[in-house]
């Protein structure tokens, strides 16, 4: 009795390991949960991409639910995402703020002129230094901000119609109800 239990042990351990590794296969290690969720948006002071003379600060994010979308013309996945954002911005659900990350102003302006501009305003972060305060480590990344200026959700990777419908829209609507 005791001996059979002893022989069973390695099989049991193996079983547990297989279960863990199996689950690990379906986790995406590239997606890191942001510790900033539940915190106020970091302070920033950046030029507006299209109007360099008028600086943008975290103040613009207060008073309404909004999205902050980190992008750059160097980012391949942002191309696809741009079309999704254009379609979403036409629905006028929330203002979408752009965060042009580690980019060239002329290239960024040309990109928006060519592909359409879904953004209410675009903060131009040429060096990417300000983005460190947001815990940005790539593009695209999208933050959902509530009316008090608290980060409530972060999506890493390109937004697709499916992500907007299933991940973002329900959260946006819940936050908009919270505010009224």
């Amino acid at each position: 009795m005791k001996r059979s239990l002893f022989y069973l042990l390695p099989i049991l351990v193996l079983g547990v390991l297989i279960a863990l590794f199996w689950r690990g296969l379906y986790l995406n290690p590239r997606i890191l949960p942001s510790p900033l969720i539940g915190n106020a948006v970091p302070t920033f002071n950046l030029p507006e991409l299209r109007h360099p003379d008028s600086p943008l600060t975290q103040q613009i994010l207060i008073g309404h639910v909004s999205l902050v979308n980190v992008w750059g013309t160097w980012c391949y996945a942002c191309r696809e995402e741009q079309q999704t954002l254009m379609a979403f911005s036409r629905q006028n659900v929330v203002p979408i703020y752009g965060w042009d990350y580690k980019d060239d102003r002329q290239a960024a302006l040309a990109w928006l002129a060519q592909r359409g501009d879904p953004y209410t305003a675009v903060a131009f972060d040429a060096s990417g230094d300000a983005a460190i305060n947001w815990g940005v480590y790539g593009a695209p990344e999208t933050f959902l901000i509530d009316a008090r200026g608290i980060i409530r959700y972060k999506y890493i990777g390109p937004l697709t119609p499916d992500v907007i419908q299933n991940d973002l829209l329900p959260r946006i609507q819940a936050l908009q109800h919270e505010g009224t």
């Binding site: 002893f6 042990l9 351990v13 290690p29 590239r30 890191l32 949960p33 942001s34 510790p35 900033l36 580690k102 060096s127 990417g128 230094d129 460190i132 305060n133 947001w134 815990g135 480590y137 790539g138």
Partner: protein
């Protein structure tokens, strides 16, 4: 045949010796104060580059690693302590930014697991050896 083995071995050793010099990616100006430079170099080995997970920001030539090095450099220059700099990065990127995960409840299995397995292995070994010894004795008695 034997000669070939020696050549292979020598090349591998040389290759390993040469490896460290391959990490000349840091473009930050060195501190004039050697103590600060030492702290800076220690710190950049502690942070993970988040686009190339298996490299520290000291070894990675990714853009993001350069930005992180710049940030650390700036904070060291501003007189921030090592702990302040680590807290700054963890607050923004989470524990994963540290190359060495901190010891805390969520990482107990990670840190303790290998030792638990070692103990299980040792206990098994002792158990088997003892039983074998006993079986030998029994055989000896029969003879």
């Amino acid at each position: 045949m034997r000669q070939l083995l020696w050549v292979t071995l020598a090349t591998s050793v040389l290759f390993c010796l040469w490896l460290p010099s391959a990490r000349a990616v840091d473009s930050e100006a060195p501190f004039s104060n050697p103590q600060l430079q030492q702290r800076y170099e220690g710190l950049i080995h502690d942070f993970r580059c988040l686009v190339c997970f298996d490299e520290s920001i000291a070894n990675s030539d990714a853009d993001l690693a350069a930005d992180f090095r710049h940030q650390v450099h700036q904070m060291v220059a501003d007189g921030k302590s090592d702990q302040e700099i680590k807290t700054f990065m963890i607050k923004r990127y989470g524990d994963f930014i540290l190359y060495q995960p901190p010891l805390q409840p969520s990482t107990w299995v990670l840190w303790g697991g290998p030792f638990v397995l070692l103990v299980i292995g040792l206990v098994t070994l002792i158990f088997i050896l003892r039983r074998r010894a006993r079986m030998h004795n029994v055989e000896g008695d029969n003879a």
